[in-house]
């Protein structure tokens, strides 16, 4: 599970060759002072901070699953976001892997990062937030 990421500059890192993170795999890497988790979900890559805002558990060690979509009708179950819901290993708070948003409180977010592939290597960088 240990990986040494080469820090190109403090705003981006190289995680390593893309083949080393096959579908279904994840890796915890250090991004500056933060620990982050990098995931390959069906060929799409995601990166999210490895820290649950609740009690500070290593969020990225949790189960990657789907969830029942919030509905307006009792007894209605719509399973969605399979493989894109990260559930904290401790108290099971669900976070959207892509946006980092908590599924029970849309105002609560875990930091996510941009991923890209450059010449066969997987890179993670800070997301640019558009200025308002």
């Amino acid at each position: 599970m240990n990986s040494q990421a080469m820090t190109a500059n403090k705003k981006e890192i190289c995680v390593g060759p893309v083949e080393e993170l096959p579908e279904g795999a994840r890796r915890i890497v250090q991004f500056g002072t933060a620990s982050i988790g990098v995931f390959n979900v069906k060929g799409e890559f995601y990166a999210i901070r490895n820290f649950c805002p609740h009690e500070g558990a290593e969020l990225c060690l949790g189960v990657l699953t789907g969830t029942n979509k919030p509905t307006d009708r009792c007894g209605e179950y719509q399973w969605e976001r399979e493989g894109k819901v990260l559930r904290c290993p401790w108290h099971a708070w669900e976070f959207d892997l892509e946006t980092g948003t908590s599924l029970f409180d849309s105002k609560l977010r875990v930091k996510t990062y941009q991923t890209s592939i450059r010449q066969g290597e997987l890179w993670v960088e800070e997301k640019i937030t558009p200025k308002r």
Binding site: A57, L61, G62, V63, W90
Partner: protein
Amino acid sequence: MTNFTPAAKANQIVNPRLGYPIFDLEVHCIHEDPHQVSQYLPLRYRKRFDQGYLGLGMFNFDQRGGGFRTDGDVPGEQVFATTGELVRRQLLEPYEIEWAICTGQLYCLSILPDVDYATAVASAYNDWLINEFIPQDPSFLVAISISGSDPAQAVKEIERWADHPRVVEIMMPSASTMPLGNRFFHPIYEAAQACGLPIAAHTTNEGKGISPPPTPVGYPSRYLEFHSGLAANAMSQTASLVSEGVFAKFPDFKFLLMEGGVSWVLPLMWQLDADWKRLRQEMPLLKEKPSDYLKRQFFYTTQPIEEPKQTRDLIHTYEQIGGETQIMFSSDFPHWDFDDPFKILPGTTSAGLKKRILRDNARQLFGRKLRALEGS
């Protein structure tokens, strides 16, 4: 009883970040293989235990994602406390735990239909725990298990282990066919008092086996309803123990409610005290207010810690119920609702209260056995 008494030693924490190490009331150790336990069972019970038979019945209320943390060696897979090495690596060291009480996982004994089997399983489980698991780490302490369904046998089991240096507590299921204050169970409390060991009752098996449904109005539909509603049995058992005079009858007896929460006891104290003033003749054994007994003889573990919007409401409640002396930290490792001792009592908690909860109250409750272990 084994003659082998492995040396126990408090885990030495160098430069603890709080200035003191932490006492953990609850580690749910578990056997990896049923044979580890069944080897201690009489022959006639071995096969059924190995096959997983506990007589609890077909349905269960389960946390959909499994009941355990998933941040162990393989992310996403559940963590089981099967070895001392794992517990030390994932709990004792990172969380600076000086002593951890291994409470096992067997909280259904009182509600198994076959009382003799329940008694035998309790005994074999204690054999496994003390002979096989505890020796794996010098900082483990032991809570032995008993079944409430045969008090005479439970007393024998208590007396069997009471003098073992690492046995500090007796686990009794809170899931029961009668409230725990019922006279039927008093010989157990009397024996516990005589041995100087507290009884700890653990919730979560309500509604299983031959126990009544887990709520006073029948069966819940889902785990959320079930797990939240466990507060009902916590309240009922507390009211039972007080009202039936257990604390008055056995003034040195101490009772610990694990995983039952804490805050509900504040309004319960108000209600019990008011009722006692009016109904004293109906509770002739009580010489003091119910809350006086509770503040002296009833203990709580923090986990799962309640989370009001303002933590100061929690801390204030703790102070009102005698939390200064009665509340103790438990991690509940490795269950999903595990609490991190460094995170659960944030800044507004007085340093003194925090230390009492995280360490000192436990050291006081288990003082006699600790002195023997640490003095030697």
